[in-house]
């Protein structure tokens, strides 16, 4: 498929989950460029282009963010709230990918403007299906707003 390559930012502190997620992307064969941060603060720094993330050629703004909730430094919901406060990122697809299926978390996430809420499956096969579906729906069929057209207002 000649679909454009989109970059995806993975916010995940668990190295096992990260390994399997990357493995699933490889298995799914999606052309996405994967970037990774380990905690909530790094996620904000990455998106704001602060410190080690200032070079956009190495750390491009993502089209889609896969956001875990239970994160060190800053909780995923705080990161989500911050993202939605930035006019530049209002169109950025944020998909929650977490272990929690707590109703409380689900409704908070949607209140704060999450695009989707996914519970991490135990099966690596299911995860492969999920990342393939994410790419197909959100990054290929979905009409997508390019973040670089809007100035960052930090």
């Amino acid at each position: 498929m000649s679909a454009p390559s989109h970059s995806i930012l993975i916010v995940e502190d668990n190295p096992d989950d990260l390994f399997i997620l990357k493995w699933a992307f490889t298995r799914a064969g999606t052309p996405n460029e994967l970037h990774h941060v380990e905690n909530g603060q790094q996620a904000i720094d990455y998106l704001a282009g602060i410190g080690p993330y200032h070079d956009r050629s190495i750390h491009p703004l993502p089209s889609l963010i896969l956001l875990d909730l239970k994160l060190p430094m800053k909780h995923g919901l705080e990161v989500l709230a911050w993202i939605r406060q930035q006019p530049a990122f209002r169109g950025t697809i944020v998909v929650i990918l977490t272990s929690s299926s707590e109703d409380k978390d689900v409704s908070r996430a949607y209140d704060l403007g999450a695009n989707a809420f996914l519970v991490k499956p135990t099966s690596a096969e299911t995860l492969t299906e999920i990342v393939r579906a994410l790419d197909v729906f959100w990054l290929q069929h979905n009409k997508y707003r390019v973040p670089s057209l809007i100035t960052l207002n930090l």
Binding site: N14, D16, W23, T98, S99, T122, A124
Partner: protein, 409 residues
Amino acid sequence: MACFYKRFKLKAMELKEMISTETLSASELSYRRLFEAAQDGILILDVEEGRVTDVNPFLCKLLGFSPAEMIGRTVGELSPFRDIVSNQAMLERLQEHGYVRYEDLPLETRDGHKIAVEFVSNVYQAGDKNVIQCNIRDISERRQSEERLSNDATEIRMASRVLKTHAEDLEQKVAVRTLELQSTINELEAFSYTVSHDLRAPLRAMQGYTHALLEDFADKWGAEERDLLGRINKAAERLDILIQDLLTYSKVSKRRQPIVPVNLDRLVQDILTQYPTFQDAKLSFEVVRPLDVVLGNESGLTQVISNLLTNAVKFISPDRLQKIKIWTEAKEFTVRLWIEDNGIGIDPENHLRIFRMFEQVDGKKYEGTGMGLAIAAKGVEGMQGSIGLESNLGSGTKLWIELLKPKKT
């Protein structure tokens, strides 16, 4: 004529005197009777020195003295009154006010008894001279009952104070317990959050890595290695299901949603058509429609009924068609939903066990964690309903849940 008149007058005067003397002696007599029979003590004193001139039998008996021992003495000289009534003071007050009253005099009788009396003295005219009459009333009993009353009142006051203290104590204890309970609930919530997050993560890792091993190095494994890796995978899967069931159970336990009318007819239809488990050629469902409307909440009932149906299709004999019949039975205030299967049945001695956590009567022969019916029971309980079954080994199972019927509109 004049003489006659004079004599007549004289006679008349005599007559008058006679009548007055007779009248007087009649009143004297009745006074005397009163004096003798009175149930109060009476002392008569002369007004000049306050010496006893007469004493009635009641007072003699009360104080334990004979009239002879009292007559001629002043009140102050009588031993029961000594140190209490000053003769002089009493006489002065009598002269000034015409009467003296002591409301509550403590006396001691001759034999040492303590009594209390009310002592009232009046001066009045008796014939041509003034006398003092003292009325002495024994008020010991009244005193005692007053004391008892006041003691009772004190006791009641103390008891009510104690009661109030207990009530306050209890209130405080309830407040403390409520706080403790709330913190336990919070802890449990935090615990289930931790369970869902942290306990499942290593399982994902186990499954993920075995999966990666199997796929990425497929050409390196023989049948035996594949089998072993598959077993690791299966074990992790099973543990994950257990954890998820536990989470569901704890969620159902704490979920308290308002109960509203729920259309079972539609709900059961949705479950039967949407759950993949029930799309099996070896299953045959018979729903006696329409099913009644019950009070509950939709998500809770979906959980409960799908669990019951899963249970009904799980324990089947492998060689025959599993038939499940579903119907409702309306009672006066409730509706009972029946789910009957023709499966292996349950021995009556195990009927209670099956609603407990992790119970599966038939050991490991059938899949699942043994949580399904426990979750259903908890869910029904949360909707003010009940759950039960009729079954015998080898003759199928009739599970039922009973829920409140909506009021007719």
